[in-house]
Symmetry: C2
């Protein structure tokens, strides 16, 4: 028994080490690899992925699990959960031929370079063939599992246990009914709040400010770094090495601020997982939706609140010349102006989930066979016009804007919308125990971090999204609060 | 036979891929890993090093070599050379217990973090225990080989075939006799040439200029990157992904220029290896001495020449405000001022090899048992005073300045001095075939790159240092030219 546990721990340690190496390679690829290096690093990723596949599906792992399960009632609850997750993973992997798994890993590694070039050149056709391949691999891998549910629902459930197409349809229908008309009302009130924020700030100044904000909200820069990439993301090597990226536009200084806070939210989650879970299968976040609830919590609920800027502005004015002329009201209204725009990561809170809806419907359409890859730019633009009233002039501002599909992250986008919904429910729970506004005004961001650490972060993957929501808020996912929150906030700002 | 060759090729490919992964991890560690990440990445390096060890010394590799050697006359000369190098490597490795090899790899990975902290804190005592361990591992690994030559000579020969203590003693004695008194003469003429170069330039401006210079000398930024680190270095993932670092001091703008050109010289070498050697054991440079001949060639012979700046200044003045007020003569004399100083990488050409002499004598003394680690700061300072007439005020500017020992690179330093000597011999050969001054004045740096590519770079490791020197210059290593060059150049400048 003890021998089996030791064996299991060693296997998981090895598995996690491979994942960490993959994380370093991925990081390198997305932040700095020169063009000439794409090929070799993609091959390395392919090799390591295959190694991870072989380890996970090995007879040794299966035998060890079997042995441990023989005396399941005696083993540690952490190991029990780990076995559950491992078995789930094995179920998914074992049906995929190893060579296909390797090919797919190499493909998604290479695809990022292809996407970057296509995006730079504003040319969807360059990206279409790999995107086609990525979608068809994803489809095939699900089909191998021979499940009863439709393909997209299976994918959604993989990201967020219990999620499926009909639940999300219901959610997005609610948005269409409530938010699309509300957005039109707001839009008619045309205000130019954000004019005040359109000044120039050097990359260096923005970088310094970004790091200052990270420290301010509680991200530990001794156990993480902030770097730069075409598309901001967070990547975890382990909880003591959590890496964020942001991006800097000299003419749009607040863009980096919100990208940084968003990724900072992910990063604080990862850094906050309990030490005893560090080398286990439970060291990650509970789900992508819960993960996005943390990033969106920091970005919107904290970062776009008046109280946060009340606490931060005074501290920063001396150090960042660009801020010195702005009043609190100018900042608050400026960062909350509602402008149906083209780029998701720059979107305001009100329009954000509509961007997700566009992606959700497209993924659903491709996987069901309704849409073809080659028509995506057209479909994208039509949907943008329908929900947001704007049309991209080119693919860079349209269908090529997001990194996700090139990484193989099909079915990920709804996590952002779920994250928005969760985040409001979490805020309501937090407010019952803490004077959130006061804490923000006094700059006591640490109190918020500790609350989230205790209630959410430290549990890692040991609690399911539902378990977390139930224990924190007493309720499961409930989109009503989100819609109410949006209407109240923006009615206030625009009245 | 064909089967054996295929097997051999696959093994070497796998071996090189492990090396490339190690390179990425090393790069990460030295340029960006946060403190929290040192531990895990060191462990990864340990794991991969062990894997490389196991592969290299495996029965399979030995058997394949044996098979190939049975029909040695029929096989490709490239494979023949590869087998030679592989056998040499196996000879060195097989005597080391695998666990010790892994421990040493982890140690040197961790030691870099320790060195950085010790250096920041100006505290040699923090570094001394790991340095002690590194030296004793190196000593032990040589002793395992049970060779006749003394330890340091074995190490020197590993870096540069044919090198040993008595040859280097002779070389450094020459320097002592010729350069130390010449330096005193020059010093008495006190000129403040470099005053003109002490202006301030932002990191961003320096970074742009560094990249401009790299392009100008012919480093391909599509197949490489320039980044930043505490100690400049070059690292090759493969010939299409060659990574350089430099460092920026806002008050010393020419420091980054010469670090960048130096590393650029290494980088051009690596990028210039013939395509057919790419996945072979011969893809690296011939030796560390030849490698340094290329970096020092670019840094000094090109970068510190009047003609280079004649060609570059006009092109750059518009773009880099800081340069616009400088005349050619001011730049030329400024960058060639002789000032016995504390930091090797900032040293002028004349004093440079004296810095190497300090390190050479210390390594020799430790390995022979004459010196103890704990006394190094004192010994360092005494030797600096003896040869250069200056004494560091603290260890950061003294014994803690170089990264090499923390990486386990004991015996590397003499390569710089050999590189200096080689580079002058190469210059003399080049001058017979090309109007070097004219080429530099006209900014035709590509001609120089092509000449070096053809004569040196493309051969990779397939020619020994001696073979290269004989084919390029008709002579073996000969320090006389170097001493003559230095005396002529500085007599001219100072008269």
């Amino acid at each position: 028994m003890e021998k089996s546990i030791k064996k299991f721990r060693n296997m998981i340690k090895e598995k996690r080490m491979i994942d960490s190496m993959l994380a370093i390679l991925q990081w390198d690829l997305e932040t700095q690899t020169p063009k000439g290096g794409y090929k070799l690093i993609s091959e390395m990723i392919g090799e390591l992925s295959l190694k991870s596949y072989n380890l996970t599906t090995s007879k040794e792992v299966l035998d060890t699990i079997k042995k441990l399960k023989e005396s399941l009632n005696k083993i540690d609850p952490i190991i029990k959960k780990e076995i559950d997750f491992l078995e789930e993973e094995i179920e998914k992997l074992k049906v995929i031929p190893p060579e296909e798994y390797k090919m797919y890993s190499e493909l998604t590694a290479k695809a990022q370079g292809v996407w970057e070039v296509a995006r730079e050149d504003n040319n969807f056709e360059k990206f279409a063939p790999v995107l086609e391949e990525i979608f068809s691999f994803n489809k095939k891998f699900i089909e191998y599992r021979k499940l009863d549910s439709d393909i997209y629902s299976t994918i959604l459930n993989d990201y967020e246990k219990g999620m499926n197409v009909s639940k999300l349809d219901l959610f997005f229908d609610g948005l269409k009914k409530e938010i699309v008309p509300f957005l039109k009302e707001i839009n008619e009130k045309k205000r130019n709040f954000s004019d005040k924020l359109s000044f120039t700030s050097s990359k260096l100044e923005q970088e310094k400010f970004s790091k200052e904000i990270l420290r301010y909200i509680g991200f530990d820069l001794e156990r993480g770094i902030l770097s730069e990439s075409a598309h901001p993301f967070t990547l975890t090597v382990n909880k003591d090495d959590v890496r964020l990226t942001t991006r800097y536009f000299e003419e749009l200084p607040f863009s980096s601020v919100f990208s940084t806070i968003h990724e900072g939210g992910h990063g604080i989650y990862e850094q906050g997982v309990a030490e005893e879970l560090k080398e286990t299968m439970l060291a990650d976040g509970s789900s992508m939706g819960i993960h996005e609830s943390q990033s969106r919590f920091y970005e919107n609920i904290i970062g776009r609140s008046r109280e946060f800027w009340y606490g931060l502005l005074d501290r920063s004015k001396d150090k960042y010349k660009s801020l010195s002329t702005l009043s609190l009201d100018e900042v608050y209204k400026g960062i909350n102006e509602v402008t149906p725009s083209l780029i998701r990561v720059e979107a305001d809170e009100l329009t954000y989930s509509l961007h997700i809806m566009v992606r959700y419907e497209i993924e659903k359409g491709i996987l069901s066979g309704e849409y073809e890859i080659k028509d995506l730019p057209k479909i994208w633009n039509e949907k943008m016009y329908e929900y947001l009233g704007v049309v991209p002039e080119n693919d860079k501002e349209g269908v090529l804007q997001d990194v996700h599909w090139s990484c193989g992250l099909i079915g990920y986008f709804p996590s952002y919308a779920l994250g928005n919904v969760y985040s409001i429910q979490i805020l309501n729970a937090m407010k019952k125990q803490m004077n959130v506004e006061g804490v923000l005004e006094r700059g006591e961001l640490n109190k918020i971090k500790i609350w989230l650490n205790e209630n959410i972060h430290k549990h890692g993957k040991s609690k399911s999204p539902n378990e977390i929501m139930l224990s924190v808020t007493g309720e499961e996912l409930n989109p009503d609060y989100y819609i109410t929150y949006l209407k109240e906030k923006y009615t206030n700002i625009y009245d």
